[in-house]
């Protein structure tokens, strides 16, 4: 059972929707360490009509921005929060975090715990995964000092992903995080900040 749940989780990392570009990473591990030139990233068009429906959905559909932040820093912060959301972040809970990394081998797992998480997700489905990611990204980016601004759903979907319902490969995930980093480190939005 555990094997199938983990396998199901990994199966979500298949079939990129973007075309593979020459010189891009080949493996998921390489994608996680990918730092593109921001000039090569397509800047999302954030224009939309702020109607009642869009306003109602700002709790779910948003983007982040922080002043005086460069692209690489924004990408690292978004990846950290993405890792928190996925249970990949390793933490530093022993007095010597370097020892924690080496004590069980560098590949010591999030694995065991994540199986429990996946079991809960298997019971309660993609809605629970979406809810958790929205909360985690909001909290984590807020504590990293980023302001949050609302988006219409269709604009949000052009450079964001949900957990659970849609298959998103590691390559697509990292490409969209790079687009989010471009926005987060770009010109300051004129819209109203939404807060935590």
């Amino acid at each position: 059972m555990k094997f199938f749940l983990v396998a199901a989780g990994m199966a979500c990392m298949a079939a990129p929707a973007f075309a593979q570009e020459a010189g891009e990473p080949q493996t998921d591990i390489e994608w996680l360490a990918w730092v593109p030139d921001p000039v090569s990233i397509e800047r999302p068009d954030l224009a939309f009509v702020e109607d009642e429906e869009a306003l109602d959905n700002y709790e779910k559909y948003y983007y982040f921005h922080r002043d005086e932040t460069d692209f690489e820093t924004a990408l690292a912060d978004l990846r950290e929060c993405d890792a928190h959301s996925r249970g990949l972040f390793r933490g530093n809970f022993t007095p010597d975090p370097t020892a924690a990394m080496t004590q069980y081998g560098p590949l010591a797992g999030a694995a065991g715990g994540l199986i429990v998480g996946l079991m809960a997700d298997a019971i309660f489905g993609p809605a629970e995964l979406r809810r958790k990611r929205r909360i985690n990204m909001r909290r984590c980016m807020f504590y990293n000092g980023y302001a949050r601004f609302g988006l219409a759903k269709d604009v949000w979907e052009s450079f964001n992903f949900e957990e659970g319902s849609r298959e998103v490969s590691e390559a697509d995930r990292q490409r969209m995080l790079a687009q989010q980093a471009l926005v987060a480190s770009g010109p300051r939005p004129q819209a109203q900040e939404l807060g935590l």
Binding site: L32, F89, R90, G113, L114, R139, Y143, L194, L196
Partner: protein, 283 residues
């Protein structure tokens, strides 16, 4: 550093099925003290007392001893040795399956096994197996304004992991506190949640004018010294002690829950962004 750790953890996810079954972690022995008229505590035991404003489920990590860590490492070494022996067979099996798959390319392409090495072999944190939850039942005392849980636990360091249990957890992954529980003492602390406004500032009472996801997002965790409610007349006053806290900036979200953090406490610590700042050092 963070980037490589994430990459490695992702690889650990991919490899997880190979080794998860074999691990045996010693269970944390938690002995609840029941709510009776008369209570006798054993001065040879260490006690942990949790105070909360109501029925809550909290999670804690009992940090392992050096011996337990050594045993965990020995198990890993043993499993790794077996995996190294098995690897040529696993690789041959993969090559046969891949050759068969290549003829028609129907179904999912078989995945090449990762060669087990000291670097690549996955093994979970022992701490993730030493998480235990407290509450909402088995209260030592309960009144309208508070609940107390009292339990004998192994002496050692403990860490606040968050609220909820392993299936539904709100983890103090972005800022927590650790403390020692000592033999002959009742180490007492109080936990609660506090509502936050959109600026992240603590507010009294239920937040107004927020939608449901705002309500689920805008609260922080409180870990603080206990109130007078913890001075239960059945307990020897001299045994009750308030711990010294160690700041813990990051915890792994082992159970895939939501992430949160303990709110700043005056005179103890505050945050600079995501960094915990020890205010005791400044005094």
């Amino acid at each position: 550093m963070i980037r490589s750790a994430m990459a490695l953890a992702l690889a650990a996810m991919a490899l997880a099925p190979a080794s998860v079954a074999a691990q045996k972690a010693e269970e944390v022995e938690v002995e609840q003290v029941k709510d009776r008229k008369s209570v006798t505590l054993d001065p040879g035991k260490a006690y942990l007392m949790i105070e909360a404003p109501g029925m809550m489920i909290s999670s804690w990590i009992s940090m392992p001893s050096a011996a337990q860590r050594a045993d965990w490492q020995a198990q890993r070494s043993e499993e790794l040795a077996e995996a190294i022996v098995d690897y040529p067979k696993d690789l041959a099996r993969y090559e046969r399956r891949h050759a068969s798959w290549s003829k028609e390319e129907v179904g999912r392409e078989p995945e090449r096994p990762v060669e087990p090495t000291e670097e690549s072999f996955p093994w979970p944190d022992l701490e993730s197996r030493r998480v235990f939850s407290v509450g909402p039942q088995n209260r030592f005392a309960s009144e309208k304004d508070y609940s107390l849980w009292l339990m004998a636990v192994p002496e050692g360091e403990y860490l606040f992991y968050g609220f909820g249990n392993q299936t539904f957890s709100d983890c103090a992954c972005m800022g927590s506190l650790a403390f020692e529980v000592k033999t002959g003492k009742i180490t007492a602390l109080r936990i609660s949640n506090a509502w936050l406004d959109g600026a992240g500032q603590r507010i009294d009472g239920f937040p107004k004018g927020m939608n449901s996801l705002d309500v689920q997002t805008r609260f922080g965790m409180v870990v603080e010294p206990p109130s007078d409610f913890s001075l239960d007349p059945r307990l020897p006053r001299e045994m009750i002690t308030v711990p010294e806290f160690r700041l813990v900036e990051r915890l792994p979200n082992w159970f895939g829950g939501t992430v949160n953090r303990v709110l700043p406490f005056p005179g103890l610590f505050t945050y600079d962004g995501t960094k915990m700042v020890d205010l005791r050092a400044a005094e």
